[in-house]
Symmetry: C2
């Protein structure tokens, strides 16, 4: 993606820094100011794409040429941009880590112009995958035994959202996605068989099922609700012996409309009585973690769920109140004091205390405070280079699983936890904030 996927003010500020030769080390941190209503935690995701972005950061000749022609930038500044690369350090919570408001999820330490320029795209990448992974984790908590599949690409917000929603939901514990490109790009398992249009294009539903099975013999999941769900289930039963003779097994059926629990019960009975006890039932149609939980609690005989629009848009909370803030420049801690938007200054770390079974509390503290518990931020880039090769998604999935398993029970609910998880501000950090306030009071 072009480095010009940024806000214009990053470039006008960089022109200011260039003008004043302000190139000392800056520290910025990414964090989220508050939980959306009804959420209890965030699940960190998007770090791999941020590392790729920082490693590849460079202006192309076309971009530089276009910038010159806007008339907004001096040629010596454009020449400076031509050489600009990201040369800094990054500390971050590994993907699949549970975290909370005001905890820095990622810290950039770099010459001021570099650390500034990357803000817009860095937020754009971290917010979206964290948003979707956090939503997907709720679906996993609501239906831990079920096969969950991301169906949302068509109503995701553009191409990258569709692709990265597949990745984010998979690392949160989904079984996979319908999005083919996520299979090719990230090795996410892909799922899919037929839409209503396939059945409508034919004149006879049963013949359609049979022909689909011959064309896709290893992947026979039949869509039942184009005309009449139970009638289609009976056709499935009638068809099974003919397919069996050809060595083809009906793996399952899908229901996409109506009262899913009721249809699933009727279909289960028809399949069982027809000797298709092994065939699974998969449900879809405007689902989210709440409707899935209701279906699970009703003990509807549904083996898996396709979750689409509401997952890929995080419909109940489509954005996070996340920011990337300057915390230190040229060795001096900094603090923004805008009304309702003030920040904690300095380079921070997050310590997590847990007992054998559960997370107990976190403490946001200064980076150089003595290590008294598990530190959540770890070095991931040094001098503009990644420190480790990209983590396997299977390893991230294990981390997610471990993190979700250690969540206190009240946070595993879909309702707001009371009390919320305790995140404390260390005394050292409070003292630093006071010192910075005293120094900055000359500004007001």
């Amino acid at each position: 993606m072009s480095v010009l996927l940024t806000d214009l003010y990053q470039l006008t500020m960089l022109q200011g820094y260039f003008h004043q030769r302000m190139e000392e080390t800056a520290v910025f941190e990414f964090f989220i100011r508050r939980l959306p209503p009804e959420r209890n935690f965030f699940l960190a995701a998007g770090l791999e794409q941020v590392i790729d972005f920082l490693e590849d950061l460079a202006f192309t000749a076309d971009e530089l040429d276009w910038l010159s022609k806007t008339g907004r930038f001096r040629q010596e500044f454009v020449d400076y941009l031509a050489k600009l690369r990201f040369t800094g350090d990054v500390h971050a919570m590994p993907e699949g880590t549970v975290f909370f408001p005001h905890e820095p999820m990622l810290r950039v330490t770099a010459p001021l112009p570099e650390a500034q320029l990357v803000e817009s795209r860095l937020i754009n990448l971290l917010q979206f995958q964290t948003l979707i992974a956090s939503k997907a984790a709720r679906c996993v908590l609501a239906a831990p035994e079920k096969l969950l599949v991301d169906f949302g690409m068509r109503r995701a917000h553009g191409a990258e959202a569709g692709l990265l929603a597949a990745r984010a939901s998979y690392l949160a514990g989904f079984a996979g996605s319908a999005t083919v490109l996520a299979g090719m790009t990230f090795d996410v398992p892909i799922f899919g068989t037929m839409a209503h249009s396939f059945i409508q294009a034919h004149d006879d539903e049963m013949q359609t099922f049979e022909q689909f099975a011959h064309a896709n013999p290893d992947n026979v999941v039949l869509l039942l609700d184009t005309y009449d769900t139970e009638a289609a289930a009976k056709k499935t039963v009638a068809l099974a012996p003919r397919l069996k003779q050809r060595g083809i097994t009906i793996k399952g059926v899908r229901i996409d409309s109506g009262d899913l629990a009721e249809h699933a019960r009727k279909v289960r009975r028809i399949l069982d009585e027809g000797g298709l006890g092994q065939a699974t039932i998969f449900a879809s149609g405007n689902l989210d973690e709440r409707t899935v939980r209701t279906l699970v609690e009703s003990e509807a005989p549904i083996d898996g769920f396709g979750i689409g629009s509401r997952l890929d848009t995080s419909a109940d909370a489509p954005y996070l109140d996340c920011v990337y803030k300057l915390q230190e420049y040229a060795g001096r801690p900094r603090r923004k004091r805008s009304e309702g938007k003030s920040t904690w200054p300095g380079r921070k770390q997050v310590f997590r205390f847990h007992d054998a079974e559960e997370m107990q509390r976190d403490v946001v503290t200064l980076e150089d405070d003595p290590l008294v518990a598990e530190p959540l931020l770890v070095p991931v880039m040094h001098g503009g280079q990644r420190l480790e090769s990209p983590e396997k998604l299977s390893d991230v999935r294990k981390r997610t699983k471990g993190n979700l398993a250690r969540l206190p029970r009240r946070l595993r609910s879909l309702e707001p936890a009371s009390p919320a998880y305790p995140v404390e501000i260390s005394p050292s950090l409070r003292r630093l904030a006071e010192t910075v306030d005293a120094r900055q009071s000359g500004q007001s």
Copy 2:
């Protein structure tokens, strides 16, 4: 974007069509089933990107190779995909057209596999820009005299969403966007000056303002709320004469936190008393069409608004209940009858009736019905090729303006209109649906 940005079932269905040599002409239509709560209309957007997608549709060698290796597809089918291109016709409502639920916004007429394959990405493209353009149009209706700027890229859902939100809001009537790449790609005017981090990185706010002005002399808009808004306004006034001596004018100020109306009034007074009557006040900070309307109605002296996260995610309605449905195959109209999701069959047209001033009603009818009013769907592609060169966004903006000007007054409100705009189903279309139902009743 890769053609593999699609749902797996498109490919398994295509393998089925290939197996059965089903390549006759299919007609699919894109439409939206219902208005989100509190919305009164949609604004069509995204067509240009759909045309580009269809013209460029092709599988690369790497993609074909990967598909082969999945083991899901026969080699002869993969060889067939290698040659697949989009060769069909497209009719659509031009971008900037106001439309309503159940009205086809776009129709594809093509050999069945081509028309089927494009479904996922076509919905992905049309939904997102229509979603954002419709939201942006509400902002324009709420503040018709103000300068509106898209600030949302950082919290948009990925790169493409950030870029296309800038385009969609501009065609809906915004003045421009902060997103630089939208300037380079679509010639959208770009806006931006400084963030809080710029001021925090310096030790003295007034010096910061001055240095920024020297670095960006043609674009001096100062951000006031990093420490104390009114104190910063006084520094602006104090700085102005010094800058004037150097030929630099302060164009305006920005306020990003606190009670925006209250701060704007105080700042306006300070600027006016200080001889900066020409300097504009720009406001931002978690705004949407409702908060903007409240500020406009309070007569706060604010000249422009930066609207971000809630615009670029369409936060109150982050997806549309939109579909792309098979309406005809091999000359026979088709109809899906799934519970709560049935469709109108056949190739359709939308007629719009209006008097001299306002739109009065629409009629959804069959394509070959006699023309009795303005037809909204026009041919845009034939034989896989676009019929006209890409429309200029300035022309789309004119169409939007004309469409919004003809909206009945009750639809221009931010609240749900009562009665809703009348969309009638023609008698010919009702008769066709009955005929198709009678034919398909053998399926249930």
